[in-house]
Symmetry: C2
Subunit: 440 residues, 2 copies
Amino acid sequence: MRSQKSKIVVVGAGFAGLRTVLNLARANADILLIDRQNYHTFVPLLYQVASGFIAPETISYPLRRILRNITNARFLQAEVKSINFAAKIIQTDRVVVPYDYLVLATGSQTKFLGVDGAPEYSLPLRTLADAVKLRDRILTNVDKAACESDAERRQQLLTFVIVGGGATGVELAGALIELITETLAKDYPRLDLRSMRLILINSGERLLATFPEDLGEYAGRQLRRRGVKIHYSTRVSCVMPGAVELDDGTMIETANVIWAAGVEANLPNGDSQLPTAKQDRICVHSTLQILEHPEVYAVGDVAYVKQDGEPLIGVAPEALQQGTAVAKNLTRQLRGLSPQPFDYFNKGTAAIIARNAGVAYLFGRIPLKGFFAWLLWLSIHLYYLPGDANRFALLFSWIRDYIFKERRVRQIFAFHEASLSNVQDVNSHRLQSHIQNPGD
Amino acid sequence: MRSQKSKIVVVGAGFAGLRTVLNLARANADILLIDRQNYHTFVPLLYQVASGFIAPETISYPLRRILRNITNARFLQAEVKSINFAAKIIQTDRVVVPYDYLVLATGSQTKFLGVDGAPEYSLPLRTLADAVKLRDRILTNVDKAACESDAERRQQLLTFVIVGGGATGVELAGALIELITETLAKDYPRLDLRSMRLILINSGERLLATFPEDLGEYAGRQLRRRGVKIHYSTRVSCVMPGAVELDDGTMIETANVIWAAGVEANLPNGDSQLPTAKQDRICVHSTLQILEHPEVYAVGDVAYVKQDGEPLIGVAPEALQQGTAVAKNLTRQLRGLSPQPFDYFNKGTAAIIARNAGVAYLFGRIPLKGFFAWLLWLSIHLYYLPGDANRFALLFSWIRDYIFKERRVRQIFAFHEASLSNVQDVNSHRLQSHIQNPGD
């Protein structure tokens, strides 16, 4: 027996897609949520996985568990291959799914900005897999450095270059310098950390471009004070195995290039090209419906949404509020009412820099920096993380780090071995016939 | 400046090797611990990782953290390639390490007993990587079954065959049947679990051969009551992609064959063949020194140690006590005293079957079964797990599972993708043009 209810398909279980499904819990419709992964990733904390604070399990949550109590929703783990908007059919790698209403919440992906070698030789930080690979790379290279007798090569292994001074780059820089100078310094007592360098490459004149000038400058000062070297108004022109070249001609020898510079919409393939704007984002009406298809919505990072004439910047609160709005509009459509325009209420944004240092920009008006902004950041993320057990584990890890300067997750798991192959290219092994301090 | 102290090298950071190093903390020697991984694995809880109780981080512990306070010990993450016992030199994949004293604690590995196809098509459970692969396989195949319209193929995906009825096989069977019938049944409410089968293949007439007869029979009854089908006095003759053949000619269609049947010593390559006994274990004197080399010890699963004429069975308490004994003997040798014979004090062994059901055999004399044996098993493992944070996380997961019948870790992480390739061989995808219940 086939149900006669309207069928709503939501593609993508990030902040926007998941919120849409949860807010449709009482809608008179059959809802299908599709995602490549069987878990939701709490993206704002990816950098904490990459820097060994927490296990990947802590910031991911099984989708079937979340949907268990939503009786009108089901989940399908599949990859969307193409969408036929005319026939209202989605082709996935597993099954073909028809829909009456569709919500595109496919998010964003790393954009390498056409820089030669960046896709091959730099590590992005967009997914949980990226975060784990990055952690493995950092731990592996510090370990190699400890066994390396050649000073130049040791320097290369201990040089970390982060490309991009937005929130991701800043947060990772702060967490990484703490990981190395505090935790790893204790693990490798004989390793000379003066040869460690953490370099942040920023295309603009100050960090955190979406925050007020003052906060960006504060972030820069805080990172510099902790030992991060920042190149302002500088771009990367080429990434090679073992080095990165800047547009001013500087060459930095490094085995660790982290790409936190660009994002673009993660567009699904359609039968017709969807009209897109900046960063390949899908153009939408003020109701979040896409042009020409009133039964299709786009939300979150994949959508180009303007508020008061300015495009939204692509942060979690925007995605969550859009999810809520789309659920409301779909409910209206099901009842024969017309959808209403989306209106973003900007509660503010926040970024963490390092221990006791954060920035926040509340209601788009009030700038805040230092200890209280840091505390605010922690509280917000703790509050929004799904799952009590995860929340508890996160709080525990933070307290532990704060008191003991100790990161828990420093295992290099062999089952991520593939991620290390690139490192081995960079540092072809030379068997040394004898070393003074093996295992230093 | 090269230290004139004696140099002790310990190969392998399992129970025996790690205990040796920790107990040599005050010895007047330079100690180097070598392991392939940079973490210690608490092997008895591997099955809990495989069945989604806990994250791999919970039962692994960074070795550099453990050794941080042991001032005379260092760690080297490397793979031992060969040992020149005459020249007292170890060749690793990173450096060459000379030694004055050597402790071989390289443990055991899976033995496929010459069964065709077992190495290729069955999943062992000896390492943390094995456990994660197994978890991914189970979760993936249950998910595929939910989307599968062909009843036969669904049955194949939902058939789990465990080869071996020792502690590993029994513990995994109990944990797996609980995972599927309790947690996953809630995740997939429309999946018919009557087509799920869990089959345990046991070569002997009863389970848990190292325990008294009565306890083995109890384990069999408990598993059967929970839905496990047990084949006694049966061996596997061949493992194929998608099926397993038993020696009585029975063919079982299954996409999940788990190998828990055989172990053999994980022998290092030497310049001369070491004399070995059963399971390829190294013959040792009663002092745990290997034959002909008084400066080399073998401990734990790699050593063939007899007690009262019977070989030890290869459990954690034996390895720990041998580690203690070797540390003591090395300290004696450093002082010019002769090593003393190892004497195993059997406090007992225990195995867990399922919720509220365990077996224990105390002091090699007192059999115990049921709730109290189960509670004893939990207490022992909680006590011996290294790291307070891990212990806390473990306790929390157990309480959660006990009260809510809920396993926390059900994410299928894309970064273990390689592990799924085998599954895809078995179940070549057929795109169905339409299915009734996608995402069931």
